[in-house]
Amino acid sequence: MTAIPISKQKSEQKSEQKIVLEIKDVTLRFGGLVAVGDLSMNVPEGSITGLIGPNGAGKTTVFNVVTGFYKPTKGSVDFLGQRLTGLPPHKVCEAGLSRTFQNIRLFHNETVLENVMIGSYVRQRGKWWQNLVPFLFPAAAREEREIRATSMELLTHLGLAEQAHAISSSLPYGAQRRLEIARALATRPKFLLLDEPAAGMNPQESVELLNFIRKLRDDFDLTILLIEHDMKVVMGVCEYIWVLDRGMLIAEGSPRDIRANPQVIEAYLGKDAPAGDAPSGA
């Protein structure tokens, strides 16, 4: 309930920052279960924003709503003035949003390079049949070669060039995560959603990830929204944080505010008193 006025204040404070993603009053019900309730949040351009919450809070569900896998029962999602609600996932990708998955979803029989090339397909203008007779359609053939070259560049950029011709499932875990991000970048997104990028990483790898995410944002002109359980990562990299619990937004603010917020602490650690008055806000 308190979420809306706060976000208004904030957007007034950062008036020069353009809002790219705007989620308005989104509710998603599965039968009687409210997975996400009246969620309103927005993400300013060029920011790294965190979406956190305890297990089962509905974070991944929010990602699925934004990327078109779920159609919200109520509410809307806008991206750069374009209504995303109701668009199928591939249209959302065309609009410039790309994502990774909590459990890595690579094309595991394909090589690393092919995985990235598949990502580029959404921006490929040549038709499939033109490449059957490349001598008749030199433009399509050139594009095909360019895709191979730019995919290779992208792999070099993310430090995967040496494994370019390895089958993607043979990569070590951390490299698979990076490949998933590389593949998402190949769709030339303006907005990147990362679902638990640090999952399964050791502390040192997590620290590397912080710098990697910042570098991504700067090198590719991205806005990044990420779900993360590793608080070191969240507090280290996010400029703004939204906290979900049981489908509801319970807090938002800078990392410092969130760390001190009693509601957040309660959601994560529980509280001593019996939970009689817990749903008071709803």
Partner: protein
């Protein structure tokens, strides 16, 4: 660059070798062997088209016999003469508009493919929303529907009597010509980025959608192209055997194609070609088990259908011990012959 020139030269050389063989074979091999060599090419076309649907794009389809039937009938109806048609339709007179329809053989092949592709497209729209085993069952059902329609639409198809006296247009040049075209098509398709996209749809549909791929449209397209191959193969087969009837296109026909694809390796172009050679020759060679055998004082009468039993057992053995087939998803490459130079280039393969 040098490997590119080398591979190109080797491709041309193998094509030349194929040409020489096709020129040499008719004068030096008997009709039975020629028939088998023809069938190898046709089964390879059919296997490749089924592999595009099942192996490359991951749609378990059991409907290929139905699309073959469409192709075989369309082609036969287009090249039979009006006199042949009037004498053949005994149960019901032939539909008048069909009587004088006539096209050259090549045109009939293309139209046969297009007819099968169109029907495949119509079927794909509702059926491809299903996945996995459900898709297999639905396509199986559609293939049966096509067969039953052929049996009952007597004015169009002459019903269960089938069509006889189809001119034997399919010679080695025709079947291998079509085979080479289909092979080059498949190699180019699967080596292009669109080929990657097809494999992506097979491997992980959700991830493919996230990558901006319209997976439904992609599957419909692959299915339609595969059905074109089915129709083309069916038409070639009809013109090779010169008689067709609905019984030819039962589920067993789909099974033997499935065998070609699975034995060779799902998702491998080379595999389908090897599978076609193996399955076609084995099916003929195994005929000896159906002959009466006398071992000492023991006499075993010939059991018709015995080779299918043995074949099915072979299939079970393959599925248990080498599920990925002979090739897996790998492809033939000239680099195999030159192991020193690593490269990703793939060669067009000729027999």
């Amino acid at each position: 660059m040098t490997t590119k020139i080398r591979n190109g030269t080797l491709n041309l050389l193998s094509l030349a070798a194929l040409f020489y063989f096709l020129w040499w074979a008719p004068g030096n091999l008997d009709g039975y062997k020629l028939r088998i060599i023809n069938l190898i090419a046709i089964n390879a076309i059919l296997g490749l088209s089924l592999n595009l649907i099942y192996g490359m794009t991951g749609m378990f389809s059991l409907g290929h016999a139905g699309f073959m039937a469409i192709g075989a009938y369309v082609s036969a109806l287009l090249i039979l003469t009006a006199e042949q048609k009037t004498t053949m339709w005994i149960l019901d007179p032939i539909a008048p508009w069909l009587l004088n329809l006539h096209t050259p053989f090549i045109a009939s092949l293309i139209l046969a493919g297009l007819a099968a592709a169109f029907l495949g497209w119509v079927i794909a729209l509702p059926v491809l929303r299903l996945g996995g085993d459900y898709l297999g069952i639905a396509t199986l059902g559609f293939a049966e529907i096509i067969r039953i329609l052929i049996v009952n639409l007597t004015p169009l198809t002459n019903g269960s009597l089938g069509l006889k006296g189809i001119p034997a247009h399919t010679d080695l040049w025709m079947s291998y010509g079509c085979f080479v075209v289909v092979l080059i098509f498949m190699v180019r398709l699967m080596n292009s980025n669109f080929g990657n996209v097809l494999r992506a749809v097979r491997d992980d549909e959700i991830a493919a959608k996230t990558m901006g791929i319209n997976t439904f449209q992609t599957r419909v397209l692959a299915f339609t192209i595969g059905c074109f191959g089915g129709g083309l193969g069916g038409a070639l087969m009809g013109n090779l055997i010169t008689t067709i009837d609905p019984k030819m296109f039962m589920i067993t026909q789909t099974y033997s194609l499935l065998m070609v694809v699975v034995v060779g390796g799902l998702g491998s172009i080379t595999g389908s070609v090897i599978g076609s050679i193996l399955v076609t020759t084995m099916l003929e060679w195994l005929r000896f088990v159906e002959n009466p055998v006398t071992i000492g004082s023991f006499h075993i009468p010939g059991i018709p259908g015995m080779r299918m039993v043995i074949f099915s057992m072979l299939l079970i053995v393959i599925i248990i011990f080498r599920r990925e087939g002979i090739m897996g998803t790998r492809e033939f490459s000239w680099d195999w012959l030159f192991p020193a130079k690593p490269s990703g280039a793939k060669g067009v393969r000729g027999q």
